[in-house]
């Protein structure tokens, strides 16, 4: 065997050649980013949609293995102290049953109120439940990869929710998986209203895991604990879905209050989310985009 030559060794640690490659790669990245920046308009790129479609089988396979492994780990831990857990769960179940009874009564009352008032606002249509494959938080950006795509009826702009509240919206759709932006994302926003007073505002993610309600006038009587729900004025999210509760109210700029909101949905424990039907405005936008592309 021939020993490796000194020339090869020098090439391997040559920072000048590496610098040239670095500059080329950085320029390519900037060009790629520039090509995507103006054409985004809130939707993902075709390149990303292709990649998501290609990676769907791998992501689904790895996701199911991960799910099984975590399930097995959980079952092993569950074996220990199963008796006390059982007792606790029984007590919890009793409490939950009482809570369910109360909530059912409240829901029936609310439905009746809605019917009587004739508001006519349709409840958000739940398309189905989808698993979360990946949850990413980076530089204020909070996104998830969900295990459903165009083949399952997912469309760009479809809202995502859990029974506790609103979660976010689908941005890029592949065939088998899609990526979505969470409400916590620093560039996410949703039209919102204070359920008690009916005042409208805009809820934005602060990038740190909380939400901020903007555009609430200083004359408002908003108070700690008030429920914030989606207003249905943004053309993306349906009306009446809980977003969170007011955590603190302080004087912000001259005209508006600074209202911090604690999200209703527990974003740290998301495993499956409900896919809601996209609003008509989003559908029209998507169809217009498709015909323009054609």
């Amino acid at each position: 065997m021939r020993p490796p030559s000194a020339r090869v060794e020098v090439a391997a640690v040559n920072p000048r050649r590496g610098g040239a490659v670095l500059v080329t790669v950085l320029v390519a990245c900037v060009l790629l980013l520039s090509a995507q920046a103006p054409s985004r308009r809130g939707r993902g790129t075709v390149l990303q949609a292709w990649f998501l479609s290609l990676s769907a089988p791998v992501a689904a396979a790895v996701g199911s293995v991960s799910h099984s492994v975590s399930g097995a780990v959980e079952s092993t831990f569950a074996l220990f102290g199963a008796r006390s857990e059982n007792e606790r769960l029984r007590r919890e179940l009793d409490a939950r049953e009482r809570e369910l009874f109360r909530l059912r009564a409240e829901a029936l009352q609310r439905d009746e109120d809605r019917r009587l008032l004739g508001a006519g606002s349709a409840l958000p249509g739940v398309v189905g439940s989808v698993p979360i494959l990946l949850l990413e938080q980076r530089a204020g950006s909070h996104s998830v990869l969900i295990g459903a795509g165009s083949a399952d009826g997912v469309a760009p702009g479809s809202p995502l929710a859990v029974p506790a509240g609103l979660v976010g919206r689908v941005v890029t759709v592949g065939r088998g998986i899609s990526s979505a932006q969470l409400l916590l994302d620093a560039s996410a926003a949703a039209g919102a209203r204070i359920a008690r007073t009916g005042e409208l505002g805009v809820v934005r993610g602060d990038g740190h895991g909380g939400l901020v309600l903007n555009n609430i006038a200083t004359t408002s009587s908003v108070a700690r604990g008030d429920l914030i729900e989606s207003a249905g004025i943004d053309g993306i999210y349906p009306r009446g879905v809980p977003i969170g509760h007011v955590d603190s109210v302080s004087r912000g700029s001259k005209l508006f209050l600074e209202v911090r909101v604690t999200p209703s949905a527990d974003f740290s424990r998301l495993t499956d989310v409900l896919l809601l039907a996209p609003s008509p405005a989003t559908k029209e936008g998507a169809e217009a985009g498709r015909s323009a592309a054609r």
């Binding site: 985004r40 993902g44 990649f51 791998v58 530089a139 950006s141």
Partner: protein, 167 residues
């Protein structure tokens, strides 16, 4: 490092990212596996391969989780070069040094992506979040642990263990 090994490293990073991402325990393991793959290549001292590995790893990460492809590719290509300089020029080693370097690299990655997002997508600049610091710490700890496992004299340890048993 051979190209086949680099490809294997990147595939392993992608699989681990998805594996941990699907798990309900992901909040405890927010390790930047793609950064670890880039650092592993940088450790070999090959600037070209470190930069290209960083760019590929970043592009993969972008395609999986970012609204625009190229931001992490940009950051990780730079970090690949910087980590190679550190591994070639700076004479220090050990698990703590590697862990600290990866902690700083993860924060730098976060900062570069935040600045690019602010420049190109008009997103607000968010860098030092609790999540980012925890992610950097987890990446540093994982890198340090891998480095100490790599340097551990497994062969001698195994032989000593066998001798002890024979006695």
């Amino acid at each position: 490092m051979k190209v086949r090994r680099i490809a294997l490293l990147l595939a392993a990073a992608a699989v681990l990212e998805l594996f941990v991402g699907r798990s309900p325990y992901r909040a405890f393991l927010p390790v930047d596996w793609f950064l670890l793959a880039t650092a592993a290549v940088s450790r070999s001292g090959d600037f070209v391969r470190a930069v290209l590995t960083g760019a590929t790893a970043g592009a993969l990460e972008d395609a999986l989780s970012q609204p625009m492809i190229g931001m992490n590719a940009f950051a990780k290509a730079m970090l690949g070069y910087a980590l190679t300089i550190i591994s070639v020029r700076v004479v220090f080693g050990g698990a703590f040094a590697v862990g600290a370097a990866l902690f700083v690299a993860s924060i730098a990655n976060e900062a570069i992506v935040a600045l690019l997002a602010a420049l190109l997508a008009q997103a607000p600049v968010v860098i030092f979040t609790r999540g980012a610091l925890w992610r950097a710490a987890a990446t540093g700890i994982a890198g340090g642990a891998l480095e100490s496992a790599r340097n551990f004299p497994w062969k001698e340890w195994w032989q000593r263990r066998r001798l002890r048993r024979l006695r």
